[in-house]
Symmetry: C2
Subunit: 668 residues, 2 copies
């Protein structure tokens, strides 16, 4: 006989609790307590609120779910398995094992149904703001009367740790400002962190703080009261102006007689004896592990199966939409697949050698504005530096609470949230996001850059004011180590173009890039435009390094540089050649693009036989030795900068033609 | 005849406004608007509240002043000049010029009276929390009835930008929790940011937010009402439980007929024509520049001169204190000078080769606890990871709102604020701070690490869980590029010890370090202890790299590694030697310490003639080429990690004896 619904639901919830404890125990590492505590929350979400299709995890109008408290991932894995995603009980048993889908924190692209990689606290919270922005923007662009194509919400489970992280504050303030009513966040207020009670470090009034940001806040005293949870979620859904925070009190490791409510159950397995007690507490067989009652599996499977109908209905709607709005539908379909509109690259501007000096940030602004109309899905903004980074799309509106179709974003002085929001946007198929600030402030947003690289998604990070060349703002604003530290992240492509034409192609690479973020690095100061009729072609930027100006005869010396220093080594080449030293100049805007070339091309640019090489970059020398060889040298910055007009700094730090020439000659 | 006081004060304020506009104009770059707007605020602070002695900028009981809105530094420079610091009108005229004291943002160590380098927004705000902690701690340790040695406050001017930055939220929450009533922050609410009105990105209720953090908040409608400002500051001083925020509405570039209240006056000179109008507005001669009425200079000079008496009185008090509490006085005097107690290093533990495996984080915990009693000024904590980072000082209390003498800090899950607070603590002579988290989360706190390096101060940053060796927590938690990115910052010393004994000496270096921060990097996993009777001495860690195990005959090969990989290359050496390949093993815990050695020592460790070298480190290879040479190789991590037990990861990523041996043999 089938159990009464309430009884079955309770059994289902307890099954998830015990599966969580078992999986962590088998892995002999992990975080059982939060998953056990939040099983009722997961239950309510996956059975009554989340809109998803386990057979089609990419379904465009699905609700997004973000486990910002990523350490509790076994909770999510269990619901993915139980509702019918391509994740088996064996996968649950392989929790935290090599090459399994069930990694120690949820990884996008590994387990189906994981919308975003989380773990570093605060990131998931802030990614959600990007997801929410993208939903609003897609709806504004594509929804039509009778065609509510995009009306999904963004759900997240967040923790005390998330609440303490600064990126959360930035993101919450931005979400309140933008009135992202499609955000529904459940805050697991469990009073426990690794060092013990949260009271030892955290006693602010979180609810009042979020109300101050403009959020709708509800407080629930007990996560086990699933009816109250449902009601709160219904309220949150109907609140469409303000983002929603539902603060839910929970007891970590609920059901564990000796460990519930303690820090000890946060990050360690309960131990075999305690798990038996848990099973007894919930009326399960203490000798069994990974027990899933058939009716529970059936129950969750049926809940999951509803998604097929939901998606079929949406597909029908989209088919009708396509008939009525064929162009928009085609545009969206292409964008969903990550295809770019035909011919967009023809709009990339070409600059003449006779044009006046131009900062690459300025060139970047011209490129962006030249291609913006052809790339309707390109959206972006700056952390209160649009005028300085030249990233405003002049023919388009700003994205605001009133205008969701706007393509310019005002992220405020919130670099970190901007980075994390870009990731949420980039994870939403159909938009192509960029965000800008000064290179120095890349330090404020490294975690999202790294996560973009881990997730193999391709937001574009734009950084201007890239060296001591920014001048008077001084030491605190002059990047030194930043190029090295960005190049050091696996799967990130860093491009520092030498002039306006290389800037055009840098944007081309960034926009076409798949499988990882691109970092574009631009100058504040004006640079001459290298004459395309006389020198190597800027199109070769796509190869990462190319011969810009060939040596007059057999190579005595190779000069290489990136960005603003390329013009400097061109002048040095002239002088060296005049002294009879046959000098090749290599422009090397991107190490990563160069490393992708075949051995023959690498040998062509840097012949093994020509090992007298000087690299010039107003940045840390770290990593250059590989290209300059044991017989070469590097002229870089080994100290911090100073506050002074740029020309004075070049002289003081040795970035002059004479010094380059002398350094080069010293190698011969 | 002398002007009436009110009239003189107004003239004084206007003089500062015009000096600010003139200085920015002469530099032809800078931020005039905020300085012009806040002149009344500066006036009230420097004449009526701040306790300081221009002739002795280091006076121990001075109030600290932090210009978190560092771009407005010309305001601070003007008051330093006018009140009699060693900063002249010529220095003001040299604003933003090479090697001048008046850099584009205030730099500690450059202009006397600048307590901390600011510029990157949010940092100053958060530094203040560290200053406030240090004041409370010094008072708890040294004040005695009748001897209120340390009773200073921490004043700061903060901006909209500071308020938006996440680090501010972390720091404000921590300050509220710790009830740092010695914080008095003035918030310049000018409604203007670079992109225009702050309304475009920022409309949260800042006052409500700060009340939620537990701050005392006052709102003032007009910065020009100096009497209201005074009253609010008196209130703030008398509120000793809660940190104070005084929110003050201002009009950017007040007095500029065409530019006040606009973003255009934020970051650019007003222009010569507009400056003339400003001078007319304030009744100054429009044709004069850098005009300082004699009575204004006299007035401010007299205000500054009071500080000599204040300090003399304090010195007297301290002399009496010294008589009554000679030991405490001597302890403080030594700590003030940065001297360490005699014999402290004798307490450093020595570990035996026969001891069981020990993680370097564990060894670090033993070292810390062994020396803590001998180093009363050593204080620190973790970002909610004390148990995991093993940084708890077991014999000492926690620093709380009730116990200011505690030496253990619970920073909460607020890595960024922890880093910035450590800087404020390290800037307070008399304490020696450390802070800990996982190496991965160093990414959350790079700005303060960099600023410590710029300021040449020496907080100790402790990072554990330093590689894929942490295992199951997976990709998001496994550092790859982090060692490279920390090594890339000028003036930072990174040390990754190979075992428990190297850990002892790593702490010795960190504690003795002057002139820059030390980053200590420890493992999660156990490591064998290298037998000090058989191999090179761990004391040589201080040289950065040393011969740990010598080749049996002429060197065929050099193996080098840091941290956990040293044990691996020791095993590889054994195998290689067994195959007749004469192999030297170099332990290289710190590049920076090695680079400080003379050429002879470097040649001894890495003879130029021995260029078959293999470096092994479970991290990005970036930068190793320099040490391995063109004829060597590096076994590192060129991708992100995975979630799995550590042993499985070692095998998968090739950190096995066999793979090291094969890579090494391939070089020969």
């Amino acid at each position: 006989m089938e159990k009464q619904n309430d009884e079955l639901e309770q059994l289902a919830i307890n099954t998830v609790r015990i599966l969580s404890a078992d999986a962590v125990q088998k892995a002999n590492s992990g975080h059982p307590g939060t998953a056990m505590a939040l099983a009722p929350m997961g239950h309510v979400l996956w059975t009554k609120f989340l809109n998803y299709n386990p057979k089609s995890p990419d379904f465009a109008n699905r609700d997004r779910f973000i486990l910002s408290a990523g350490h509790a991932c076994i909770l999510q894995y269990n619901f993915l398995y139980l509702t019918g995603y391509d994740l088996s009980l064996d996968d649950i048993k392989q929790f935290r094992q090599l090459h399994s889908k069930t990694a120690g924190h949820p990884e996008y692209g590994l387990a189906p149904g994981v919308d975003v990689t989380t773990g570093p606290l605060g990131q998931g919270f802030a990614n959600g703001i990007g997801f929410a922005i993208a939903q609003k923007h897609l709806a504004a662009r594509y929804n039509k009367p009778g065609f509510d194509l995009f009306n999904y919400n963004i759900y997240s489970i967040v923790s005390d740790g998330d609440m303490m992280e600064g990126v959360t504050s930035e993101a919450a303030s931005l979400a309140g400002h933008l009135q992202l009513g499609n955000l529904i966040y459940l805050y697991d207020d469990n009073h426990i962190s690794i060092e013990g009670s949260t009271d030892i470090a955290f006693n602010e009034d979180v609810s009042a703080r979020f109300r101050a940001y403009g959020w709708h806040v509800q407080d629930l005293p007990d996560v086990n009261d699933t009816h109250a949870l449902e009601l709160a979620l219904i309220n949150a859904k109907s609140e469409t102006q303000k983002p929603s925070l539902i603060r839910v009190r929970s007891l970590i490791a609920y059901g564990s007689p000796n460990k519930s409510g303690t820090a000890g159950s946060h990050g360690s397995p309960l131990g075999p004896d305690e798990i038996k007690l848990v099973k007894e507490f919930f009326g399960f067989d203490p000798e069994e592990s990974f027990e899933v009652p058939a009716e529970v599996l059936k129950y969750y499977n049926e809940k999951g199966a509803r998604g097929e109908k939901t998606e079929a209905k949406w597909n029908e709607l989209f088919a009708k939409y396509k008939e009525k709005f064929p162009e928009l539908a085609a545009e969206y379909e292409a964008a969903f697949k990550g295809e770019l509109p035909q011919g967009w690259a023809d709009k990339l501007p070409v600059f003449k050698g006779s044009d006046p000096k131009m900062a690459t940030r300025q060139a970047s602004g011209k490129v962006l504005n030249a291609v913006a109309a052809s790339l309707p899905n390109l959206i972006g903004g700056a952390a209160d530096l649009a005028p300085s980074t030249e990233t405003n799309l002049k023919d388009f509106d700003s994205f605001t609470s009133e205008n969701r179709g706007g393509r310019n974003f005002h992220f405020g002085i919130r670099e970190h949230a901007m980075g994390s929001a870009l990731n949420g946007m980039a994870l939403t198929k159909g938009v192509l996001p960029f965000g800008a600030t000064f290179l120095q402030f890349a330090d404020y947003m490294r975690p999202p850059i790294r996560l973009a690289a881990i997730m193999k998604i391709s937001p574009i990070f734009v950084y201007t004011h890239d060296s001591i060349g920014l001048g008077e703002d001084g030491t605190t604003h002059q990047p030194i180590e930043h190029l090295a530290t960005l190049r050091a992240i696996p799967n990130v492509t860093v491009i520092r173009p030498a002039d306006a034409n290389e800037t055009s192609f840098a944007w081309k690479v960034a926009i076409e890039k798949k499988g990882g973020p691109t970092v574009l690095v631009f100058t504040r100061q004006g640079l001459p435009i290298l004459d395309q009729d006389k020198y190597g072609k800027a199109a070769d930027l796509e190869k990462g390094a190319y011969i810009l100006s060939e040596a007059s005869k057999n190579i005595d010396l190779i000069l290489m540089a990136t960005g603003s220093e390329v013009a400097l080594i061109m002048q040095a080449q002239e002088k060296l050649e005049a002294e009879g030293i046959s000098t090749r100049v290599v422009s090397m805007p991107s190490w990563e693009l160069f490393e992708k070339q075949d051995a023959a091309y690498k040998e062509k640019v840097f012949p093994k036989a020509s090992r007298k090489r000087l690299a010039v970059e107003m940045a840390s020398p770290m990593g250059w030795h590989k290209y300059t060889t044991d017989e070469g040298d590097m002229l870089g910055m080994t100290t911090f900068g100073e506050s002074a007009p740029a020309e004075d700094l070049y002289k003081f730090f040795g970035f002059t033609v004479d010094n380059v020439v002398n350094k080069a000659k010293a190698l011969l």
